[in-house]
């Protein structure tokens, strides 16, 4: 079994303004991008389950020119609010690393 971390050249999370978080999964080759995009493993149901966000709030797009898959959703706690654990939302991507890709 191949993990997403083995196929991606960069997996990252980051604020998209203070009220949104966005995730970028980027690939070196078209082959790897197409393999993951076509596998459908990164889908709204999975994102919703792992990140406790409702599916209709998720933006999920493939960006072939950037060889990237991207998803975004409103932050549970806005950036810097009391209790926000991650000011830049930079360390929320870890669960993606072990996603199994056929």
């Amino acid at each position: 079994m191949t993990r997403l971390a083995d196929l991606a050249k960069l997996i990252r999370s980051k604020n998209a303004g203070p009220f949104w978080i966005t995730f970028d999964i980027m690939f070196e080759t078209d082959a790897n991008f197409n393999r993951v995009a076509e596998s459908g493993v990164i889908n709204k149901e999975w994102i919703s389950r792992i990140y406790n966000v409702s599916e209709n709030e998720i933006i999920l797009v493939n960006h072939p020119a950037a060889r990237a898959i991207k998803f975004s959703y409103p932050r549970t706690k806005p950036q810097g609010n009391l209790g926000d654990p991650d000011l830049y939302a930079g360390q929320q991507y870890a669960p993606l690393l072990d996603l199994e890709i056929d």
């Binding site: 009220f19 406790n52 797009v61």
Partner: protein
Amino acid sequence: MVMTEHMKIYAATGALGMGFLDSSLERAVDWSPHMIGCDAGSTDSGPTHLGASLPKMSDAAIRRDLARLLTARDKLGVPLIIGSCGTSGTDEGVDWMRRITEELARELDISFRLTMIYTEQKPERLEKAWNEGNIHALPGAPEISAETFRECSHVVAMAGAEVFQKALEDGADVILAGRASDTAIYAALPLMRGYSAGPVWHCAKTIECGAVCSTKMRADGMMGFIDNDGFTIEPAALDAAATPLGIASHTLYENADPFLIVEPSGVLNTRDATYKPLGNRSTRVEGMSFEPKPYTIKLEGAVPTGYQTVAVGGVRDPLIIKQMERWQSEMMAQFAERALELFGLTLGEDLHIEIKNYGQNAVMGSDEVVTAEPHEVGLLFIVTAPTQKMANDITRFVVHLASHWPIPEWDGFISGIAFPFSPPEIDRGQTYRFALNHVIVPEDPLELFRFETVEVGA
């Protein structure tokens, strides 16, 4: 294809004060750009920079970059446009930058026409707009009421390209703006000269972070050549390249949607954009479009949320680690009782105490998927109270009670937390939260902005 006439715009670096290579600026000057721009702010540093009007960059870092840019501008005789002064773009941030700019003009013995653009908003005006239904929530916005504007310590409005154009029409050589759209810094002049909105906004969006989208990913300069069919982008440093993949990828960065980029006057659509290599170091971009929309101006505001004191410690005892949750909920009940007794504060209402357990689930909280037991855990106590003195007083008994809180396995008085500092508590000052993610619909793009022009060094 022979290039028709184009406009050259230069982004000196991603954020004023982050630095750039002297050789890059020299190369850009040889290139003769029609304008030099630099963004100096962002919300990305968090709400305290807006709430407390606190610049992220030091005076020294701003002076280093600005001295070089003022000198380059003097040599070229083209506009230098700086947006989001002082990180958050408050009036105080603009005045801070004005003072540094005027000092540098004296030291460098140069003269120029300087325009300040103030973007801070009075609550009365916003309350009126809210009551008239002219303020709208963006996706993910917090609930607000007419009172929210008064609760904010600062509210800034984000200036669009039209605001910079007004200053340029009035002959400004150097513009210091409060909160401004990063892209508007670069779009203002090309749009004034009649270039197509699609290439202009897409080029502006691509260069506003400087050279981070080049192969070198460092704080440095990026040059954009705009014509009516598209734009070409090239990093100023000769050891860096703009690759199609890197430039396409830049639409991902800090954007919720990579294809739709909202500006005050409309939406840039990059869905059908093509990215092609041009030589070894440049990328040519075409096929984008810009759809004009009813004019909106984004508002940003920060509300004070109490004073904070924190303490850091660590636990190594596996007997404590295996019952961390119960251990901490027990002590938390005692903290609540003591705070009520001493200060009349109610936990969860006017007092907040949080313990983040680094090594367990501090980073992802309830989203954490891993359940493995760590061999040591870092504890961060965060106490937020109405005054700094209360926050500090409470943290002092919190760390004392916590460090001796018993577990059933040990019979006797324990010391369960390793503190690295004496005293363990550290005051953090006033805290803030972002309170607005809204737009206001103006009658005129300029109506929320104030201009002041002075001749410097004349």
